[in-house]
């Protein structure tokens, strides 16, 4: 066995770096043992005991860095020392210029502001337990904040939003997955046209769906502000939802305001209506699961019940209409979907196989799962979900479908320790396979969400499993996205259709199509 040592004088590295380098060296083939430590008397004693002490270490000081390696051959040792030098040099470069002249990295909000002194928005994506404090620092420095992080306590959220409100700042989130500010998509967001419709959403995928529909219809978005889902609950009281409405009212580029959420708490709803009554601009609302009121409590408020209806209504109003033509438009679409359902049922499914009758929805967007439940429940009974709403029953085991089952794969039980299902399709692909094998499944319903932050090649990941599944069941997909998105909507649509899926442009249509198919099989 060979042993070699070197001394580095005046060079200092933190312990994690040294341990990491030592670990790398230990893993090299032929290396028996290694030590990278400061030359203290005590460490020398251990080197002695471990058989790694060398004569050249006799006169070292406690400030010297010692590197001792034992290995099978001189060649092994050469390679090992080369690796050490490489790693320490890289670490030194990183230490000396983490934000060097050509680098744009920052290690804190302060240092980020040094690089971008005109920044007025901080997007925070750190572990939830730290996110609240970082958000407060940013607010104290006068920045608006978007908190992508989840696991921030509701108490902290209330504290942040009250503070921000007093300072005239916006807090988007926590758990705000998406926003579009001055045409710039933030976090999970789509590339959409700029235009005159401003959105306030307490729903991430809800915001994405309406903004994409609006853009695909030729209209555009002025601002899209995501408040985080809890904002419209009683405790938070809609603080940011209301402030965002005010901001859009004051924004000269916004001509129509669109509000998206699950039903706010009744006290929050009153506040929203009170604020809406002060706004002269037309306001379209979709509070999923809330009853559509024909009675107009606020003169300029138009209530809708689905994301597609809300988006199309906003588009029509932005083009000078009143929104009254949308119902007829949707009815026509629905008739086409019914015909499509008949064809699918005849072509794809063996009607004599009486068992195949259930819808199995596998969603990456929680709002889509909610909307699908509301639509499906108008046509069939016995619907289960891991995130139930309305008449839907709670699924006992999220991993096992029962009758009609709509699963939100973004819920905690699926996402602890793994990426979000909009990015990582592993769980969903596996579940598609399982559902296709289930003799009771007739339709697999999927949402595919494009845009920044989402899976960059969804068709590649889904093609194979969709192709196999569609030999046995109907596969219905909605795509949320635009052709400007990095994935390219048309390309994804074509690929999934080629694989055998029926692709429609909105979650409402996909859910309705699945409902019609299920009804055909009753």
């Amino acid at each position: 066995m060979k042993i070699k040592g070197i001394i580095k004088k005046g060079e200092y590295f933190d312990s994690v770096t040294l341990m990491r380098v030592a670990q790398k060296v230990s893993n090299l083939s032929g290396v028996v043992d290694s030590a990278i430590i400061m030359g203290t008397k005590e460490n020398l004693s251990i080197l002695e005991h471990a058989g790694l002490n060398l004569p050249e270490f006799a006169d070292v000081s406690a400030s010297d860095l010692l590197i001792a390696i034992s290995g099978e051959s001189d060649k092994t040792l050469s390679q090992a020392f080369a690796e050490v030098e490489k790693e320490l040099t890289a670490s030194r470069k990183k230490t000396l210029s983490p934000s060097g002249t050509n680098s744009k990295t920052a290690s804190s909000i302060n240092s980020a502001l040094n690089i971008l002194p005109d920044a007025n928005l901080a997007l925070i994506s750190v572990a939830g337990r730290f996110a609240g404090d970082e958000a407060m620092k940013a607010l104290e420095m006068g920045l608006h904040v978007m908190i992508f992080s989840d696991n921030v306590s509701i108490e902290k959220e209330i504290e942040l939003k009250k503070f921000a409100h007093a300072k005239g700042l916006l807090v988007m989130g926590p758990d705000s997955g998406t926003a579009i500010i001055n045409g710039v998509p933030l976090a999970f967001a789509n590339v959409v046209n700029r235009g005159e419709i401003g959105i306030v959403a307490a729903s991430g995928t809800g915001l994405q769906e309406v903004s994409c529909i609006i853009s695909n219809e030729g209209a555009g978005i002025s601002q899209a502000i995501g408040t985080g889902g809890r904002d419209v609950k009683k405790d938070v009281g809609g603080i940011m939802f209301i402030d965002a409405m005010k901001a859009l009212d004051a924004d000269p580029d916004t001509k129509v305001i669109l509000l998206v959420s699950k039903p706010p708490h009744e006290e929050v709803l009153k506040k929203i209506e009170a604020e809406a009554s002060k706004i002269r601009k037309p306001i379209v609302t979709v509070f999923l699961g809330a009853a559509k009121t024909t009675k107009k409590t606020v003169h300029n408020l138009i209530t809708t019940t689905t994301l597609e209806e809300a988006a199309l209504t906003a588009v029509e109003i932005s083009k000078g209409g009143s929104g009254s033509k949308i119902s007829a438009k949707l009815s026509k679409i629905d008739s086409e979907l019914e015909k499509m359902a008949k064809k699918i049922t005849e072509r794809a499914l063996n009607k004599s196989a009486k068992k195949r009758r259930y819808v199995r929805g596998l969603f990456s967007g929680g709002t889509f799962c909610t909307e699908a439940q509301l639509i499906l429940s108008q046509h069939v009974k016995d619907i289960y979900s891991n995130a139930p709403t309305g008449k839907t029953l709670k699924l006992e085991n999220s991993l096992e479908s029962k009758k009609h089952t709509l699963v939100d794969l973004g819920e905690d039980e699926f996402t602890v320790g793994r990426p979000h299902p909009m990015i990582d399709f592993t769980l969903r692909v596996k579940r598609i396979e399982e559902e296709a094998q289930d003799p009771e499944t007739s339709v697999i319903l999927l949402d595919v969400v494009l845009g920044y932050g989402s899976n960059m090649d969804p068709s590649r990941e889904l093609e194979k499993v969709v192709k196999e599944a569609s030999k046995k069941v109907a596969v219905v997909c909605s795509i949320t996205g635009t052709n400007l998105d990095p994935q390219g909507r048309k390309k994804i649509e074509d690929a999934l259709q080629t694989a055998g899926a029926t692709v429609v442009s909105t979650n409402r249509r996909a859910s309705l199509l699945a409902s019609y198919i299920a009804k055909e099989l009753i």
Binding site: Y12, F13, D14, S15, V16, T17, L18, M19, S26, V32, D33, S34, A35, I36, I37, M38, T40, K41, E42, N43, S45, I46, L47, H49, A50, G51, L52, S61, A62, S63, A68, K94, T95, L96, S97, P98, S99, G100, S107, S108, N110, S111, N114, R129, F130
Partner: protein, 276 residues
């Protein structure tokens, strides 16, 4: 242009040369044998007894600084200390009586360390499972020696225990030195003196020497003060959050120091019980 947001209350006057540079810290020392350290840090590290908190770390061309009573000179520029920005590092509390809340939070802190600390930190002293990553003759001997030093420290020969721990282990401030710093803080919280131990603990590492000096005097950086405060006033969640933040900085030093603090306090509480 540097802006100073805080300066420590243990800064010494004199000339200092660059000792080491890291992402968030640039260390200056008077000489290698001293405990006179000045650290220019950013707000990620924050205030401390030897720290001057500045707004950036673009200091690669700076080789020295000079401190006098009123301020310091750095790279031909002059910065005066504003009294309102002086950081009080003293951990100001009456000698600890082990209340239930404090002891419960000490257990919470222990849990946080065993859950979150770096695999090669001293957290193995709190959880045997964590000994597994220590492989090879050097690392195994290190584990044996640390345990021996601690056994003597709280047993038959504390001075010998300190001598064994001093300078032992990984990193620019060796693990054993960080453990001793935790021990000194624990002693301060219990109202006990540590002067005799301090003399034994000093070595040739100016960074370690300065941390030990501040710990011996019951002084700490802001993060550690907040953490100690949370042991008295906070709940489990609060203790976890602060301790994880503390362990995020300084490589393994944070976890090693906290391990020293927890083990020392637990030993001292047991000792108190035996005498009452």
């Amino acid at each position: 242009m540097i802006e100073v947001s805080s300066f420590g209350d243990m800064l010494q006057k004199g000339s200092f040369k660059v000792h080491s540079r890291f992402e968030h810290v640039t260390n200056f020392v008077a000489d290698l044998d001293s405990a006179d350290l000045v650290s220019l840090v950013d707000d990620v590290v924050g205030p401390g007894p030897f720290n001057i908190v500045v707004n950036h770390q673009n200091l690669e061309h700076v080789e020295s600084l000079f401190i006098d009573v009123k301020g310091f000179n750095l790279a031909k520029l002059r910065y005066d200390f504003e009294p309102s920005k002086r950081y009080d590092s003293f951990i100001n509390m009456a000698p600890l009586k082990a209340g239930t809340k404090f002891y419960r939070n000490l257990i919470n802190l222990e849990e946080s360390i065993t859950e979150y600390a770096h695999p090669k930190s001293l957290a193995f002293l709190l959880d045997e499972e964590r000994e597994k990553p220590f492989k090879g003759a050097f690392e195994k001997e290190f584990v044996t020696r640390i345990k021996k030093g601690i056994k003597l420290l709280f047993g038959s020969d504390p001075n010998l225990g300190i001598k064994i721990l001093r300078g032992l282990g990984f990193g620019l401030t060796p693990s054993g030195d960080d453990f001793i710093a935790g021990f000194f803080i624990a002693k301060h919280l219990m109202g006990s003196e540590v002067h005799s131990f301090f003399r034994e603990a000093l070595g040739k590492n100016p960074l370690s020497n300065s941390f030990l000096k501040s710990a011996e005097q019951g002084r700490a950086n802001e993060e550690l003060k907040k953490l100690i405060h949370s042991l008295f006033e906070g709940d489990k969640k609060h203790v976890k959050e602060i301790s994880e933040k503390f362990m995020n900085h300084g490589a393994t030093s944070g976890a090693d120091m906290l391990t020293g603090l927890v083990i020392s306090l637990k030993e001292m509480f047991c000792e108190n019980k035996r005498h009452h």
